[in-house]
Every structure is written in C-alpha cells, then in structure tokens.
C-alpha cells in the first residue's frame, strides 16, 4: 500500500510542475525536494520494488523537461458503475476541453431503468450533457436503475484503425487510438466500423473525430478531463506499465467487464458492475 501512496504524492507534485504560477512552482519545487530526499532515504532502506517504482514514474521534473516517451506507458481506463450518479460533469468537461461540436459526443452517459418490461428503458438526453431529468415515466415497477458513462474504448484490436484507408487513424505506442486531422479525408468508414458509436465526423473540419483520452493532457502527466472532473471517482485513468498504478491493480485483481466482448475488439475501457442490458 505504501508505494501506491508515494506514487500518488509524486503524481500530484508532478501536475503542479505544469502550473507556471509562482505559487505552483514553489509548491512543486518544495514537493520535489521533499520527495527527492524521501526517495533517497527509501532507496537506501528498501532498494528493490520502491526504487523501481520511483524510477519508472514520469513525473520527475527532469522527465517533464526532457519530454514524454510514449513507449514507457500503456494506458487503461476504469469505469466503476456503482459510483456514477449521472451528473454529466464528464460530458461537460470533455466538451469544454476538446471543443466538441454540438450534437456530437466524445463521451456520454446513458441511463438504464429496468422495470417489468423485457428490456431496460435507456435514455441519454443530449448525451447526459445537462445531467438527467428525475423521471421514471413510462417504466413500470423499476427494480434497478443505473448510469453508464461511455467513450472510446481505445481497443487493442480496433476495427476503426483496421479500416482506415491510409492510416489517418492510428494507434500510438502508449495504446491510444487517434486521428490525424491533417490526413483524414472524411470517408466515414471508421465511423461505420466502430461498434460503440464513439466516432463521428466533425461538421466543421469534415474529418473523423473521437475521444483521445485527452492525449494533450495525458502526455503531460495529467488525467483526462473527464476523469479529472468526475466528482465520485467513477472514472479512473491509469498506466498499466506502472506496477503501482491503482488502475492496474483493479484490472489485475477485480472482476471487470468490457462492452460487446463478443466482437473481440479488446477494449481498454473496463467496467465494474456492468449489467447485461448494456451493449
């Protein structure tokens, strides 16, 4: 448990390094010096795993300065459905962070209400952008109800990259699926190929667009905007190449599920508490 806590402290300080404000800088500098001392002590006392953990962390000031090495990371995402309250903060954060056009969603939240009918009643007004109206109208005898946030699963065997005619859509070494907007010709084949409805054609740029797990933030040691904004800890972002990352521990130790596993796309978005109604 101890090393994970250390790691968290390190990450927090690392984030602080990116703030240019004087206060942030001083805080980070202080944190870094404290941690430097701590790591020196720790490495002297417990060399093995802890030393390794500290060495692998990407938040040491030198690393941030020298740039980001995508080969040192491999990201995954955990969505704990027991915690989601359907507030829509993630959708709003994503819209703001990524300038997502109106009517399109890089992430969205679905609400499921299971009553006496065979199938659950599902809705997602404006993708959950404004939260959900408190209603159970039309559903008799609701026995369970839950929210399911969704986004690009950044599949390892992704059909969207497979079908892109000339590699405008590609997979990064750290496992993200991205679109090169300067290369994409807007044929929409990837939009059709995605089984999760995660992609769309941006009406302004006329190119394919999708969730990037906020690569611009992630590559600087920050969390994606959605995970950052989530007030309940439903959304967790992590690096599975980091042996002490909590997300890695959940994937390794907990019972998790992915969306549409029968399609064998190998999603990297894992769900805790996924119901059979959800596709």
């Amino acid at each position: 448990m101890e090393p994970i806590k250390e790691k968290r402290v390190l990450r927090e300080r690392g984030i602080g390094m990116k703030d240019i404000s004087r206060r942030g800088f001083l805080q980070a500098a202080m944190g870094a010096s404290v941690l430097g001392a701590l790591s020196a002590v720790l490495s002297a006392v417990v060399p093995g795993k802890v030393k390794q953990a500290l060495a692998s962390t990407k938040v040491q000031p030198e690393k941030v300065r020298t740039g980001y090495d995508p080969y040192e990371h491999y990201y995954s995402y955990i969505i704990n459905l027991h915690k989601c309250i359907g507030c829509g903060s993630c959708v709003r954060a994503c819209k703001m962070e990524n300038d997502v056009p109106t009517g399109f969603y890089r992430t969205w939240v679905e609400r499921y209400q299971k009553g006496e009918e065979e199938h659950a009643r599902i809705d997602s007004p404006d993708g959950g952008l404004y939260g959900f109206p408190a209603t159970t109208a039309g559903v008799e005898g609701v026995t369970k109800a839950y929210f399911v946030p969704k986004m690009c699963n950044h599949c390892d065997e992704t059909p969207c990259v497979q079908v892109c005619p000339f590699g405008a859509s590609y997979k990064t070494p750290d496992g993200l699926i991205l679109v090169d907007g300067d290369r994409c010709m807007g044929c929409s084949y990837c939009v059709q190929a995605c089984p999760y409805g995660s992609r769309f054609i941006n009406p302004h740029t006329h190119t394919a667009n999708k969730c990037t797990w906020c690569y611009h933030r992630v590559s600087k040691g920050l969390k994606p905007a959605c995970a950052h904004a989530c007030p309940t800890g439903t959304r967790m972002f992590g690096d599975i190449k980091d042996p002490y990352d909590p997300v890695r521990h959940i994937i390794e130790e907990e019972r998790i599920a992915v969306l549409q596993p029968q399609l064998l796309t190998k999603p990297k978005c894992y769900y805790i508490g996924l119901d059979k109604e959800v596709r």
Partner: protein, 401 residues
C-alpha cells in the same frame, strides 16, 4: 431533434453515408452488369446478344467514368483521396479501391479500343477536318486492318472480356465486401453481401441495357431485335431469381435463427423501411418483374414483338428501381439502426440541393448518357453488318437505316 424509436447512441443519429454512397454501388453495379452482357457475346459466343454487345461495352465504360464522382463528392477532403493509392493501409478494405478501379478501367478502355478499332480506322480514312483528327488520335497511329490483325484483335477482345468478368465481379463484389466485412453493423455484416451485390449488379446491368437498347432503337428509328430482347429477358429472369433468393435467404436465416440482431432489423424492415424494402425492393421490384419476365420467357412463341417489348421494358424499369431500392436499404438502412441495437432512426430524407443532394445525384446519372450520346456520334454502335441486315430481312422483319 430527430425522431427515434428506442435508444440510439448519441453519435448514431447521423447518417454519414448519404445518397452519394447509395449511388456509388448502383453505378458500379451497372458497370459490372453491362460488362457481363457484353462478355456473354464476346466470350461465350452468344450470337443473340450481338446487337447490344458493343453498346453494352460502351455503356459500361460510360458509367465507370463517373463511378468515382459520388465518392469524391461525399468526401470531406476529396483532394486527400489520392492517398488511397499512394500510401494505402494494407489492412483496410477501402484501400484496394483505387487499384481495382484503375485496373478495371485499363481493361475496359483497352477492350473498347480493340472492339471499335476497325471502325475508328474506317472513319479516320473517310472523314475530314476536326472529326478526322479525333479519329486519328483514337486510332493511336495503328492502321492495320488486315485479316491477320483483326484475328489478333478478336483474340485479345476475347481475352480481355474473359478477365474482365472476374474484374467486374471484383470491382463490385468488393463494394459488397466494404459493407459485409464490418462486424459493427448487423444489417451489413454477412459474407453473403458481396454475392448479393454481384448478382444484383448483373440484374441492374441487364435491365439497364434492355431499357437503353429499346430507347436507342426508338430514337434511331431502328427495329428492336426480338431475339436479343428474349435472350436478355431469359438471363434477367434467372439472375433476378438468384438475387431475390439470396436477399431473402439472408433475412429468413436471421429471423429463423432468432438472432439477437433480428429484433432490431425486423423493426427496421417492417417499420421505417417498410416502403422501400417491402414495397419497392420486394413487391414492386421482385414479385412483379418476376411474373412479367416469366410471361415473356415462357410464352415468347405466342407473343407479338410489341407486347414483348412493352413487358420487358416495364420489368426492366421496375428492376432498375429494385436495385436502387436495395442499395438504399443497405446503405441508409444500415445507418438507421443504432449500434446500441436498441433503437433506430424514424426516417431519413436526403437534401434536395447541396453536394450530396438529390439534384446532384440526378446530375451524375445524366452524365453517362451524355457520354453515350457523344460516343454514338463518334462511333455508331448500332450499325448492323450487311449479313445481319440480310438475316433480319429473311426473318421478315423490316429494317431501315
């Protein structure tokens, strides 16, 4: 706000593949189908099809020339389209398009040139002025019309027509594969898709030729060759039966298996698509032409030319609608189902104007006919040989030129 039934993924509300993507397989289908008709004569020596063989080849080329237009109009960045050929992604089904298209174009251009070579030389010698210059350019500097040269031409035509059949099937079956190989969409994902596309392409090609041939004969004041119409109707009837069987097989299997996706596909076909699927594709497009063609094929001995022509014209026109409806139901229908498999869009209407609109589609469909008119002006396709004229008069059919 768009009307939906059930739950649709928020990004699934949009129909990204529009009318243009309906038009593209329709046009390549006509290309492949017309080519098959011409090959039935050139490869399989089906003499009855001689009156339309050259015309079929030219029609195939005319449609192939515009086949890429709807695609380019659809693209958000058409000028980047050339990358498909420069830096193709080997795993993408779409990456092969440029090669299949160009390869087929080369085969077709070469075959058209060989078929019309003798005529080109004759006209180059006969005409004067600008027209002569055009013929001289078309002749490519070769003026050898000796028996030996013509025999080589015929052999080459036969060879090109033979490799052109798999070429046409590849060009068009491949379009079916683009849809059939997407596991994300249950209405598309079936290995039957390329086969359905190929057979319905042949249907549309033969049907288009029956219509265009009759119209051309009327315009030129020539007599419609009954044997040719009868033969085409026979083939059309057979290919219609195969196509309809395949299209129904796909549905029957899905519904009989009570497949998970049938819940939503059934809702689609009997809901928003009921007019274009049940009405146009199945009843107007399959049932009625099937009966009409059966009458023509089984009762041709007791049927006057005029009745046969009218019936075949009607059946062929309905089949052209059928194939278009089929393309529509596949392309648009597939996008009306949400990948949530829990809901669908209520309707989709293409825009009237605009680069992917109805007017543009009509405009594109007019161009091949303009090309055919110009081609007919340069290289008449319907001039009968002397022996055929004799044969026609033996059959007590009046023939005017």
């Amino acid at each position: 706000m768009l009307e939906t039934i059930g739950f649709v993924f928020p990004n699934d509300l949009h129909i990204h593949w529009s009318l243009m993507i309906v038009l593209y397989p329709y046009i390549t289908g006509l290309v492949a189908g017309a080519f098959v008709v011409s090959s039935l004569y050139h490869v399989f020596d089906m003499e009855a099809l001689k009156p339309v063989a050259r015309f079929a080849l030219m029609a195939s080329l005319a449609f192939l020339l515009v086949a890429t237009w709807p695609l380019l109009l659809h693209l958000g960045h058409p000028f980047r389209g050339v990358n498909v050929m420069i830096t193709p992604n080997a795993t993408s089904a779409m990456a092969g398009f440029g090669y299949f298209y160009s390869g087929y174009m080369i085969i077709l251009l070469f075959e058209v040139w060989l078929v019309f070579r003798k005529d080109i030389i004759t006209y180059a010698r006969r005409s004067r002025g600008l027209k002569q210059t055009i013929y001289k350019i078309l002749a490519l500097g070769v003026y050898d019309t000796s028996e030996k040269a013509q025999a080589i031409d015929r052999k080459m035509v036969k060879f090109l027509a033979a490799i052109g059949i798999p070429g046409a099937f590849l060009l068009h079956g491949y379009v079916g594969f683009l849809f059939g190989a997407l596991k994300s969409n249950p209405w598309w994902s079936t290995p039957l898709m390329p086969i359905i596309f190929i057979f319905s392409a042949v249907v549309s090609g033969i049907a288009a030729l029956i219509v265009m041939y009759q119209v051309a004969m009327k315009l030129k004041g020539l007599v419609i060759d009954r044997a040719c119409i009868d033969t085409m109707c026979g083939w059309l009837w057979m290919f219609l039966m195969i196509t309809a069987s395949l299209e129904l097989l796909e549905l029957v299997t899905l519904s009989y298996e009570k497949a998970e996706e049938w819940e939503i596909i059934g809702q689609l076909l009997f809901g928003p698509l009921s007019f274009s699927f049940l009405g146009l594709q199945m009843i107007v497009g399959v049932l009625i032409p099937f009966i009409l063609l059966m009458i023509i094929v089984l009762m041709k001995k007791n049927m006057g030319d005029k009745v046969a022509n009218t019936l075949s014209f009607t059946a062929a026109t309905l089949l052209l609608i059928q194939v278009f409806a089929m393309r529509w139901n596949v392309v648009i229908g597939g996008q009306m189902i949400s990948k949530s498999l829990a809901g669908l869009r209520e309707a989709y209407k293409p825009e009237l104007f605009g680069k992917e609109g109805i007017m543009m589609a009509i405009g594109i469909m007019v161009v091949p006919f303009v090309i055919i008119f110009v081609a007919e002006w340069l290289l008449p396709m319907f001039r009968y040989s002397e022996e055929q004229t004799e044969k026609l008069s033996e059959n007590t059919t009046t023939y005017y030129e």
